[in-house]
Symmetry: C2
Subunit: 494 residues, 2 copies
Amino acid sequence: MAKELKDLTKSDDNYSRWYNELVVKAGLAETSAVRGCMVIKPYGYAIWEKMHDVLDKMFKETGHQNAYFPLFIPKSFFSKEAHHVEGFAKECAVVTHYRLKNDPHGNGIVVDPDAKLEEELIVRPTSETIIWNTYKNWIQSYRDLPILCNQWANVVRWEMRTRLFLRTAEFLWQEGHTAHATREEAIAEAEKMINVYRDFAENWMSLPVIVGHKSPNERFAGAEDTLTIEALMQDGKALQSGTSHFLGQNFAKAFDVQFVNKEGKRDYVWATSWGVSTRLMGALIMAHSDNNGLVLPPKLAPIQVVMVPIYKTEEQLKAIVERFEAIAAQLKAKGISVKIDDRDNVRPGFKFSEYELKGVPVRLAMGGRDMENNTVELVRRDTLEKETVSQEGLVELVEKLMTDIQQNIFKKAYDYRQSMITKVDTWEEFKRVLDEKGGFISAHWDGTVETEVAIKDATKATIRCIPFDVEEEEGKCIFTGKPSHRRVLFARSY
Amino acid sequence: MAKELKDLTKSDDNYSRWYNELVVKAGLAETSAVRGCMVIKPYGYAIWEKMHDVLDKMFKETGHQNAYFPLFIPKSFFSKEAHHVEGFAKECAVVTHYRLKNDPHGNGIVVDPDAKLEEELIVRPTSETIIWNTYKNWIQSYRDLPILCNQWANVVRWEMRTRLFLRTAEFLWQEGHTAHATREEAIAEAEKMINVYRDFAENWMSLPVIVGHKSPNERFAGAEDTLTIEALMQDGKALQSGTSHFLGQNFAKAFDVQFVNKEGKRDYVWATSWGVSTRLMGALIMAHSDNNGLVLPPKLAPIQVVMVPIYKTEEQLKAIVERFEAIAAQLKAKGISVKIDDRDNVRPGFKFSEYELKGVPVRLAMGGRDMENNTVELVRRDTLEKETVSQEGLVELVEKLMTDIQQNIFKKAYDYRQSMITKVDTWEEFKRVLDEKGGFISAHWDGTVETEVAIKDATKATIRCIPFDVEEEEGKCIFTGKPSHRRVLFARSY
């Protein structure tokens, strides 16, 4: 591990390689034998589980219920919503057969050609179509509305270039799908859920995000409006971290989902959908980590405090571990998770490196002198500050550190993000800032898809969002010079 | 709903139809547009979530961690373990292509023939192969062992005849996959986990189960020993509710997973796997429910207490709901989940039927006279006993009922199960009991696969298990007359 850590590429040298190595070395995930699919290892999955549990609670507190819909979608369903089929990527896993058989020539197994499906099934890339086909049978009257369902599921998009957590062929996510009697209620739902995501990102992941509307070209295929939370990574690239879509009546019309409203008239149902995925793991890693490894916000850290005994004799080890156990019991009573690492086959320095790599927020080390002095060596992961503190009041100190570290890494990410929003008023400056500084560029845009696409083609920068809190301001589009009424945020992105 | 309930087929008239109707009418699940795949509706999913949460806690308390492995398995992996490929059903969903495209003739979308996979991918029917292919890279030395991983996942087996929860093409499950340094440790793990399942079935689902070994013909393909929990449904058929496999070194050899043991010698790793699925939902429903609907054990009921106001005026409704809210707050403080149903568009009788159908353990109704007398009408779902009780001490009474009902439905199922184990010593009696009474038949068997298969062909009865607690007893095989040293349990099964 110490060797492995030494081998970790420096983030300044090659950010992309640093990220990939960190994900693997910290035991979060690895590539699998199946192209583009990852194995989420126990330590990585433990973080995802915490994300799952917190989000799930937030969804339930906002009135949602979980359900589960099929993995497969009949191919014909994709053609039913015109924008959906046009805009959605066609890279999907297609099931064509339903049986294997022993190779008649004795070479293992082969696909049975007699077992061809009449209609191919698509492994869900997202579930609007199958869910709205189901909702048709659930909704007759306004009394059946709203339907506020969420599902936790795996989805597959056959990406050509994949990266662990950020872009994988299979990934885990949640997708909320709601049905409403009015346009206003659906819009309010979409806004409510993007704010749930903002709350989660900022207060649990310590990840500052900008909330806004997607521009038409970046909208979800089939949506009338897409809301997004956009985060900034340490290399100056943006990462879309969650989206919430107002779908209008598009899917209701495609699947003929009508209801009788309070006035006794038939109308199509209004829809939203919203989701976050294991991509959040990528955001978490890239927002806070450093050349020593992960930096995890305490609220999502599987291990919040690690204790390492420094000993010369078996007897001393036993005494130190006993002292640690007493402290650990008090910490656990306060809901703080603790690991005592009493392994005897690796040295303390190795353990220090390992837990830095894994981003454990607080490390306590205790040796013979500490035992005598009733002290402990405390290192916080976010600043790597080391101090020797008294065992008296240690529990309260660690409890306070959980909050301090959570806030400190948010503040650090926030200050960085704020320093990386640059107002730009000319095309030359736009290109220069993009290449030399990166981050978000706040600039005027004429509001057309043509300009958006032309800017993307020229620079690889896209409109990340039109922020909720943008101020009206007259100006000229940096690309066409045409009039504009507000600035939007551009960036290169993951 | 009242009408729907009236339409519920009586279980005596047609048990199979009763089951299907109940699953749908109680809002647990329904068939989907995809053949054999089900939609798990919010009320059904809420029960599954409770199962998930309890089991997950039990797994973690026994030292396991969650991880996530790919949905897809390369076809060639299935050929690597000889017994696995021989014995495992070949009905699998096969992915052959990775892209769709717009039909050049304008008829929606078609599969892109240029996007054919070099090697077909199988949607996992179970994950031993992909996981052991992964473990190969995780294990070098005995210090890397044991690996105690579990995953919660969806799996697909292309069943020809499907039934909601009991047998569906896609289902949800957990699969534990552990790796050990010694044979003894792996066997102990397999036993530990079947006992976790037993604990869960009996103490959470109120489902008595018989724990034992599968006979060779019923073993998991690739296992040296399969342990099982077998439950009895109300129609006298057995239902395999969970299995735990000792896999020997079979998968380690197939995927070349070796380690250096404490003595410095290389050896193959020992394995177990174990799983339960949404099939448990079927077991839960069939073990306890009646002609009025579901009967849920309080520990797994999404709503434990429902409160129904009986009112004449708006004012009275308000007063009753206020009183209910005060009681509900006290119940919630004790961890009991409560729903107050103040809908004004359906009558109390309709609500009563609905919550009986949904199996809510305790129903409280309050009317004007109850308000005056400080009483409430209480109905427990398991016995349908109705009594008027004082509001004084109501919270304690309901709390006690949660335990009483949990135990009572276990006892009822246990007594029934015990009454349905019949000792049989002749072939004629075997066939007669099977046809006229059903249930488990305790009989001698000569220990050969040939006899097992012959009995199955003749009667559709299989050996459900060789119980852990079976007593040694000399006798003669009911089919061949050959000597036998213990009885085994036969039954027809789901």
